[in-house]
């Protein structure tokens, strides 16, 4: 997907409250302003409960903010139109989750093909070749017919990364992608994400608790108590 402006993401004044019992409301995010440039590799860090996952859900169009505006790849987002959200999510965003979230009934190849099937592109020779190439690029050539239950945690996360990149999204949102992996596998996964960022100019926003891995990113945004308290770029 082409990005009309230089920014893949623009958040302005994002607030998010939850009703925790009438009339009490808990505000999780207190006016977040954030812009990600096209091709930027960004870490979102912060303590537990700081609002990272909520912010990621809002950027991923999975949750609506209470206030504020969101622009993805130059498209203003209306959270009222579910069909529009679905289309925008399919066209512009890729997701990698901490617990990989692969579909257990489908093989590694089918999981990678799934976004294309969802978007009506079907399983053609071309889409299969693309999916196989992605699996090979995450080091899983030959494992395409294996079910998730037959793969290790690291391999499952690689399949999830390949799946996130299938639709060539402008922005990949990764929620603790290495949180469930050992140190070496986590480092390998991070290297892989970085390689995709450089090869395809795909922007990444990665939520992580690992300060060492976060330090390898181009930019590090720190969230605390629902506010951005630091925004550092690597020199």
């Amino acid at each position: 997907m082409t990005v009309p402006s230089g920014n893949v993401l623009r958040l302005a004044g994002i607030r998010k409250s939850y009703n925790i019992g009438k009339p009490v409301e808990a505000e999780i995010l207190h006016g977040i302003d954030l812009t990600l440039a096209n091709g930027e590799f960004t870490a979102l860090v912060g303590p537990s409960g700081s609002g990272k996952s909520t912010l990621l859900n809002i950027i991923g169009l999975l949750e609506a903010p209470t206030a504020g505006t969101v622009e993805i790849a130059g498209h203003p987002v209306s959270y009222r139109d579910d069909d529009n959200l679905t289309r925008l999510r399919a066209a512009s965003l890729g997701f990698v989750f901490q617990f990989h979230h692969l579909l257990p009934a489908f093989s590694a190849l089918e999981n990678v093909l799934m976004p294309q099937l969802v978007n009506g592109q079907g399983s053609t020779a071309e889409t299969r070749a693309h999916a196989l190439a992605l699996l090979a690029s995450v080091g899983l050539a030959g494992a395409e017919n294996k079910k998730p239950s037959e793969l290790s945690g690291g391999m499952q996360q690689r399949v999830a990364i390949a799946r996130a990149l299938t639709m060539k999204p402008a922005l990949v949102l990764a929620d603790e992608p290495t949180g469930n992996l050992d140190t070496k596998t986590a480092a390998d996964i991070f290297v892989m994400l970085r390689k995709f960022n450089q090869d395809f100019a795909t922007s990444f926003l990665i939520v992580t608790h690992d300060v060492h891995l976060a330090a390898t990113c181009d930019r590090q945004v720190t969230l605390a108590d629902g506010q951005i308290v630091a925004d550092r770029r690597r020199a």
Partner: protein, 408 residues
């Protein structure tokens, strides 16, 4: 739709125990519905065949005159008098040839036959039986009442001087095919007291009827009953036996004759058949409801089990409509596969019933036909029920919040 079908099939395969149980439930439900329907259809067809086997679907007769009350004014006084109907042995239909032609044009009528009938005595030696003589045009009447299938001995033909009689009458008179009997109507008709040769005996499916039936050629009966050229009734056969009352209504508009269908002359039988049909429909309805509830409950559980997958798919860009169609398709597939297996099971049940349940004579009680239209209707209905049963679970799946679903 390819994605939805793939996902529906894979979800069903993944939960194969649940899927097998619900498909089994649909199979048994459809088999029961089809078998009971075929059983009742067979039973009703058998009852109707036996009841209408020896009678016309519609009978047209002259209107019976009734006694009338008349006020007679005389010398300042009024007297009330009842005008009684003049006694008459048989009443004839005028211009019956034209009426027959008109009846043949009424939609739904497949055969029309004139008849001259009346009471008589059949005599042979010491034997004498009160009978009813039926003067018929054999080729026409054979299309109204299938006499060919009722012939026990002899030949099905009627020429001057020949009669066909009921088996019981032949037995009572000690007569067999080729013997002669005397028919007397006491009407002083031209052939009264003539002797006729029995050319065939008929089993009309009813012992009393077989004891008092004598079929003669129409012109001979006209002469015997003192009705030269006349007929006493016109019999009709209709295409759809259960549409007889409507056809009778149309027939009655053609001529000012009394027209009565078998449905009004056998109203108690019709009530029994209707009660039977209503009972079957009730059973079908409740079985369908049970099957639908079964499918719905299994799919509700499936939605709960697949909540996380639904969330992931929604995050990938699957729309609410797509998720809804995945579960509607599951309902359709369960209904379709279950009903097809149920159709096979119902055929097996019908075969076993026909083979194992026998009458006193060792033959099947009545034929049970599991027809293709019945199977087709059952399969289509079950598939539609499957889709309807899946609506609530499918809506639930479509409404899931993807962010919450992934945390499940």
């Amino acid at each position: 739709m390819r994605f939805e079908l793939l996902l529906a099939l894979r979800f069903l395969r993944e939960g194969r125990t649940q899927s097998a149980l619900i498909v089994g439930g649909v199979m048994v439900g459809v088999a029961v519905v089809v078998f009971i329907s075929a059983l009742v259809i067979g039973l009703q067809a058998n009852t109707i065949t036996r009841t209408l086997g020896a009678q016309a679907h519609i009978v047209s007769k002259p209107i019976e005159p009734v006694a009338r009350v008349q006020v007679i004014e005389s010398a300042g006084t009024s007297n009330i008098a009842t005008l009684q109907v003049a006694p008459r042995k048989v009443r004839s239909i005028d211009n019956w040839q034209k009426i027959i032609a008109a009846y043949e044009d009424v939609p739904g009528v497949v055969a029309v036959s004139p008849m001259a009938s009346g009471a008589a005595i059949a005599l042979r030696g010491e034997g004498r039986n009160a009978v009813t003589v039926f003067g018929i045009d054999l080729p026409r009447y054979d299309r109204i009442v299938d006499l060919s299938n009722k012939l026990v001995t002899g030949k099905l033909r009627l020429e001057a001087g020949e009669v066909l009689v009921g088996t019981e009458l032949a037995r009572d008179l000690g007569a067999i095919v080729g013997d002669r009997i005397t028919i007397s109507t006491g009407s002083a008709g031209a052939n009264d007291g003539d002797r006729f040769q029995i050319v065939g005996t008929l089993d009309l499916g009813n012992r009393d009827l077989s004891r008092r039936v004598v079929y003669l050629p129409l012109h001979v009966a006209q002469s015997l009953l003192g009705l030269p050229g006349g007929v006493t009734s016109i019999d009709l056969r209709v295409r759809d036996v259960f549409d007889a009352e409507n056809v009778a209504r149309d027939v009655s508009r053609v001529t000012p004759l009394k027209v009565e269908s078998w449905m009004s002359s056998n109203s108690q039988l019709l009530s029994a058949l209707n009660a039977q049909s209503a009972s079957t429909a009730t059973i079908r309805l409740f079985v369908s409801i049970v099957v639908m509830l079964g499918i719905a409950s299994v799919l509700v559980v499936a939605v709960v089990q697949k909540t996380r997958e639904i969330g992931i798919l929604r995050a990938m860009g699957a729309s609410r409509g797509q998720m809804m169609r995945v579960f509607l398709l599951q309902g359709l597939l369960v209904g379709l596969v279950g009903s097809m297996l149920g159709a096979l099971l119902s055929m097996l049940m019908a075969f076993l019933f026909s083979t194992l349940v026998r009458g006193d004579d060792g033959n099947a009680l009545f034929p049970i036909d599991v027809t293709w239209p019945l199977l087709l209707v059952a399969c289509i209905t079950a598939s539609i029920c499957g889709v309807f049963a899946a609506i609530a679970p499918a809506r639930r799946a479509a409404r899931l919040d993807p962010a919450l679903a992934m945390r499940a």
